[in-house]
Amino acid sequence: MKTEDETKETRASEIETDVFQPRVAVFHCRWCLPDEENVRSFLPAEVAKRASFMKLNCTGRMEAEFAVKALGAGYDGVLVLGCQIGECHYRTGNEQAWKRLALLSNILALAGVYPERLGVHWADPFDEGTTKRIVNSYIDGLLAIGPFK
């Protein structure tokens, strides 16, 4: 569902002059990412400073409304980090979240909110480099589309 790379290309020119630092609401699963400091370390330092972290028992607990509320409350992006598909502690929580958030992504696009503001990614606790890369690519997408309000 992500098109970060495309977005980056089309709006790369805007990034140059933009001093904007996105404010991100991070929802992370307590099974694959139990440590908030660890999650924080995935984000660029400037972004991490302004981000809020919400630990979920499972991404299956993630309601679409949480993301909508975050946007309404002044966040520029919502990042959901959960276990790899197949690794969910509750078997299918992350899959359910995925369906729900894919729908949300579609609704956001229909209502004029860049769906790139919503990032849903699966973290690999044994490969922090990859996780960090995914997160940074999400942040780049946010930088490209600018502040929400």
Partner: protein, 283 residues
């Protein structure tokens, strides 16, 4: 369709309602009543009243049925003269466990093509038609300008919807009129979800929380759009969402009480999560 067919439907409906009342299977028939130049939902309990039973006008009666049955708790059974949308509402309410379909006798009423066009309805008929004749599925794209909304790019849509949503006077008409917006605790009323006491309500929380909440329940009756005093095209937004669910999952709300939504949304709410969000958003 001509006036003749409409008259005929009215008579058919009266006849069936009369039979149901006489046979005593139901305590009342919920349908529309003609008073003066208006049409209102009414529970018919005697044959004498049936002369004023009316089938024109589109007031969503499923919500009334749900509220009545809830109020009369465990006893009572009613018949509902139900258009396609009314039946789909009842089916969705049954999925939500808000009504027990055993307590409702659905008398299916088919809409005319004109009525369908009026409501931008794709499926203007109930599963079983007892009154009128089904005109089959209608292709809404012929008469319904969704194209404009689809063609816009994200930035244009943002401009369109922020301007349109900015008109909102928070009357809650969209929610009040919707039979499926019957949750006891409504998030649109809670200060932690949507700031209270100001208009317009904050963007995008009010409208998108409702959109998300109804995404897989909306049956496309357009009552919300009709009830909106500020002309916000809520029905069209929901139609587009319905199209998404149809195209990705082949899912349509209100078809069958045993069909499960591909999206499960109703999870109990955790204040813990929200608290973190609020702290973060304020400073």
């Amino acid at each position: 369709m001509t006036e003749e067919v409409r008259d005929n439907r009215e008579e058919q409906a009266r006849e069936i309602a009369g039979r149901l009342l006489t046979e005593g299977n139901v305590d009342g028939v919920l349908a529309l009543l003609h008073v003066m130049d208006h049409v209102v939902p009414h529970l018919f309990t005697s044959r004498e009243e049936l002369a004023h039973l009316n089938i024109s006008g589109h007031y969503p009666v499923a919500g009334v049925a749900e509220r009545l049955l809830r109020r009369w708790d465990n006893n009572g059974r009613i018949a509902v003269i139900a258009r396609g949308c009314d039946e789909r509402h009842l089916i969705e309410l049954a999925k939500k466990k808000s009504v027990n379909l055993d307590r409702i006798k659905i008398v299916g009423l088919a809409c005319t093509v004109d009525e369908a066009k009026d409501c931008h309805c794709v499926r203007p008929f109930p599963t079983e038609v007892e009154v009128g004749r089904s005109v089959g599925k209608v292709d809404y794209l012929d008469h319904f300008a969704l194209g404009e909304l689809i063609r816009m790019d994200i930035a244009e849509r943002r401009k369109f919807w922020t301007q349109i949503f900015d008109r909102c006077i928070k009357c809650y008409g969209c929610r009040n009129v919707c039979p499926l917006c019957n949750c006891e605790d409504c998030r649109l009323e809670e200060a932690r979800w949507v700031r209270v006491g100001e208009i317009p309500p904050e963007y995008p929380s009010f409208h998108l929380i409702r959109a998300v909440h109804l995404a897989d329940k909306c049956v496309g009756c357009f009552a919300c759009e009709r009830a909106c005093p500020m002309g916000i095209p809520l029905g069209k937004l929901h139609q587009l969402i319905r199209d998404y669910l149809q195209s990705v999952y082949g899912y349509e709300a209100g078809r069958d009480p045993d069909e499960r939504s591909p999206i499960q949304i109703d999870v109990g709410i955790g204040p813990d999560v929200l608290q973190g969000l609020r702290r973060g958003g304020e400073d």
